[in-house]
Amino acid sequence: MTSLIPLIRNECLKIIKKKRFYIILLILVVLVPMFTYAQMRIADRNKDKFNSDWRLEIQQQITDNQNSLGSDRIPEEWKSYRKIFVQQLQYYLDHDVNPNEPSGVTFTREFLDNSVSLFIPLLIMAVASDLVSGERTTGTIKMLLTRPVKRWKVLFSKMAALLMFVSLIVLAAFVISYLISGLAFGYKGFNVPVFTGFQLNGDTVDMSAVHAVPQWKYLLMQGGLIWFVSVVVALLAFMVSVLVRSTAASIVVMMAALIAGTILTNMASAWTTAKYLFMVNLGLTGYLSGSPAPIEGMTLSFSMGVLAVWGILSVIISFAVFTKRDILN
């Protein structure tokens, strides 16, 4: 029995040689400064308006949101979003903690909160969608399968290499956004408290379990949740790349699914069965920050369960198909 390690090593080197990982790093290095700059402009503007006093800014934000609650034209769901938001802001204000303390760490936290359901999965796809279908497009899959190695081992080594890169991509996203935004906002802020544990109940927030964690711990938790989401997305993209013959098609399939997910989360709270779709459940970090789930009845355990089922199913399908199917062209 040939050991798996050399196979995994081989797959890893292939990913690196194909420069996919460098492209991901490059995307991060190009995009993060843009977001940083935009954020800096916002901060500058607010500084002018509120005499750089965040308490006044938060109070104004609360008032504005309360005012918009009065309007009849705003849908009920948005109102409950805002009511929750107002209560959380009030909690921060009452405890004299600035929720947006400008620092590289805060930027990283917010940037990753916003990128968990689309941006990071896209980066993951850049590696995952190509793994099997890429070999078929170039025809190298025949070379691979004529070796005296069992098919499941070939697939397993690919999957293992993919998971290694998932961790690397998540880590890189954190490190790069911290390093770049730190240039603008400073590298401090690891010990700034962040509140977590808001229990949402309709549009009221139960504060009994709220507790402060230092921001570095928050980042760690966030990283863990993003990693879980990324693994599931990677496994799904991997399955698609097994099923579909061309890389382009496999990327399009996954992208369509992800974008459908962001559209659905924005509008589908009436269609409750949509919560069993994986792409609606990608925003795991929302449970950490206390933002309401897109569809009634979604909790962390529920979302993780849905994601896990999708992930496991896609592994089973990948292996079943890959070990059985004839390689023709």
């Binding site: 509120f50 229990q199 863990g224």
Partner: protein
């Protein structure tokens, strides 16, 4: 070959380390969300006595407080009298800054009373030296009928909050709820004109004594929070003057209210009543917005001219 050996080593080591780290974070996060430990609550209460506004450097720092008029509802430009006042002051060479516009649509005296318990509001008040207050219209014109039941509930709650005004955490949750009550009032405020049919002379005057009492506590509370600031209270006008059967009772009620307010304000040296009654009387078609209740841009402009005269 040697090269790839090192890349492999580096990649595998870093990725294994990253995986372990992220897995640890994942387990920790799941545990923390499912079984939140409530003990580690950070109890930094906000500084009860935040540094008062920096000494008079000639800058006029304005906070607006109150109902939809403070917010500027009805002004097509969205400025309201607050922004217009600042613009006018700046145009006249003064330095004027907006610290915050805390006006909320549909706010009543009861709502504002509990809002004054909030630390954020107090903080903003302490940073300012000119406080513009507009309140009472909703008590007088709508509190009587449409919100009759809820304003009674708030009246009962009001004395309690007064006595516990420094117990901030408890008071704040309470005020959050009653602010919610104010919001439903705001929803009705949009269709304020429809309420006009229900307004009778008796109902207009019925709400007055209680509301005037609350206005008194509100103004004194503001003066207590920031003794240095000048408080400008916007007098009421009669928005129903164009309905013949409401012209006289409306005028009477508004005058009674304005007199009550004047009574309160005369007792304090740092308060001024800015009258608006005459600005709108017989000019409602020109200076009210299409909802027949709030001023339009020109109406707000007239109000702000008054304020500028009072401030300078």
């Amino acid at each position: 070959m040697n090269d790839s050996k090192w890349t492999w080593r580096a990649v595998s080591l870093i990725s294994i380390a990253a995986t372990i780290l992220l897995l640890g974070g994942f387990v920790y996060a799941v545990k923390d969300i499912l079984y939140p430990r409530g003990e580690a609550l950070l109890t930094t209460l906000p500084q009860e006595t935040a540094a008062p506004a920096a000494e008079a450097d000639g800058v006029i720092k304005i906070v607006a407080l109150g109902d939809s008029l403070a917010k500027g509802t009805g002004d097509n430009e969205g400025s309201g009298f607050v922004k217009r006042t600042i613009d006018d002051l700046t145009a006249k060479g003064s330095k004027a800054n907006l610290i915050g516009n805390l006006g909320i649509n549909g706010m009543t005296t009861a709502g504002l009373q509990s809002r004054l318990q909030q630390e954020g509001v107090k903080y903003a008040l302490r940073q300012s030296n000119v406080i513009l207050v507009s309140i009472g219209g909703n008590d007088l014109f709508r509190g009587s009928d449409l919100l009759g039941s809820s304003s009674k509930g708030q009246q009962i709650a009001a004395p309690e909050t007064e006595s516990t005004d420094s117990g901030s955490t408890g008071a704040n949750t309470g005020s959050g709820l009653s602010a919610g009550g104010g919001m439903t009032g705001g929803a009705e405020g949009v269709e304020g004109a429809e309420g006009a049919e229900d307004v009778t002379p008796e109902s207009l005057l019925a709400a007055l004594p209680e509301a005037a009492k609350r206005l008194n506590t509100i103004l004194e509370r503001i003066a207590e929070i920031n003794p240095e600031a000048q408080i400008f209270y916007m007098g009421l006008y009669n928005p129903f003057g164009d309905i013949p059967e409401l012209l006289v009772p409306g005028n009477q009620a508004v005058t009674a209210w304005n007199n009550a307010a004047m009574d309160i304000i005369n007792k304090h040296s740092n308060m001024t009543l800015v009258p608006t009654f005459d600005l709108f009387n017989r000019h409602l078609d020109k200076y009210l917005s299409s909802d027949h209740f709030h001023p339009n841009g020109d109406g707000y402009q007239r109000m702000s001219e008054r304020i500028v005269q009072a401030v300078q």
